[in-house]
Symmetry: none
Subunit: 250 residues, 2 copies
């Protein structure tokens, strides 16, 4: 398998606490062919502590680390982002198994889209708000009474599943110059616009948890791997609905 296949895959660690874990993650990235490692607000990141764990194979990845001050900023240029969680109850829906996430990642990689695997801090994971910035949610199955995985081991399992999917058959990226995907940034803009628009037509109600009722809409648009021309289509429809609204005399 060629390195090229995975060049669009990145691991993003949000608020990692231990530099040793970051080193171990870099090694796992090298093992499984993921060349990019991003950190969002790491706690006291110390390259000297991380390097021994990265081993010589992970050194280049560690030294190429990109730092961001928010997940939103880090995700800007990605086309698919997969958040990881150990908590699978409550409002969380459509939680993927690692092999299912790897399948979606493979499809996106074939479309030459950029994919981020997003992991929270060792003790607290990702916040609900951070999860809502991501397209998909994945959880690694474990024993119910010991669900907390070491960060680097969780990264390894996800990357291993991706590696398995991506190396399982001849890679045949789709060459379609017209196929431009909407970015995470585009999707955020669209979601904000859709929320305003759906409020305007009383599909959502400001006094009845509109963010909750936006979830199925967001799930739909995250699921379909929206393309740029389709993004433009829906932005145009929202614009016309708002124009209609402006003509209504309340």
């Amino acid at each position: 398998m060629s390195n090229l296949v995975l060049e669009n895959l990145s691991v993003i660690l949000v608020r990692p606490k231990f530099s040793e874990n970051i080193g171990s993650v870099a090694r796992a990235c090298a093992n499984m062919g993921c060349p990019n490692l991003y950190l969002v607000n790491p706690l006291n990141f110390d390259l000297e502590k991380a390097l021994p764990l990265a081993t010589p194979k992970g050194k280049r990845i560690l030294e190429g680390i990109a730092l961001y001050s928010s997940l939103e900023e880090a995700l800007k240029n990605f086309n698919l982002s997969v958040a990881t969680t150990a908590r699978i109850g409550g409002w969380r829906k459509n939680i993927l198994l690692p092999e299912e996430a790897a399948q979606e990642i493979k499809e996106m990689v074939y479309l030459k889209g950029r994919v981020a695997l997003v992991f929270g801090s060792e003790d607290k994971g990702l916040t609900n708000e951070e999860i809502s910035l991501c397209s998909r949610l994945v959880s690694i199955p474990t024993m119910p009474e010991a669900w907390s995985l070491n960060l680097a081991q969780a990264v390894m399992i996800l990357l291993y599943e991706c590696f398995k999917q991506l190396s399982s058959r001849k890679i045949r990226p789709i060459h379609d110059k017209n196929l431009k995907l909407a970015s995470q940034k585009d999707l955020q803009v669209l979601f904000d616009n859709l929320k305003e628009t759906l409020l305007a037509i009383d599909f959502l109600h400001a006094d009845n948890n509109p963010d909750y009722f936006m979830l199925p809409v967001k799930r739909f648009f995250n699921r379909v791997k929206l393309r740029k021309n389709e993004y433009n289509l829906f932005m145009g429809i929202c614009r016309q609905i708002k124009w209609l609204k402006s003509k209504v005399k309340e």
Copy 2:
């Protein structure tokens, strides 16, 4: 899944060098429900160094460690032993993939046989003689240039594959209930409704070939394999837009 299923599974580490790795292995065992950890001639094993890495969940496994002075001795009462290697060339034949090994392990566990997963030292792995003591040989696929996995991560991948095989997938992803697809008939109804709605908001114009400008909309909805719940979502949005239109005084 019941603990009982895995009670006959054991991890055996041969000549492990770092107590921290042993702690991390104990944690991985706890995560994936493997209750038994054996060490063969560990180098300066220090429980105090291992405990923090094991976390409270792995503590019991760590404290229950059994020590042996040879792999042969450790394997005496097992029915199936799976040796791990990163070197897949030369005389080695019939090397299993992790999921294939997990399949064999599952079959043995169902027969109530005792199964050992055997890992060598961090730097040198298992000797040829040790491998020849085992029933089967497994190797974790990696990038060719970075084939050396962290010991605890290698243990995690193997245990994870066993856990996947052995857990009956009682927890199916919730998205199954969304897997009812919209019918062709539904799509026709939706397209007619969308056309009326997009005319109502002047996104389409009756005097400017509306069917032509509907094409990208139809292409989008045909592409995404619309589900029944998503169909209902868009029908609801159209209804609200038409309601808004009825309030406009032309």
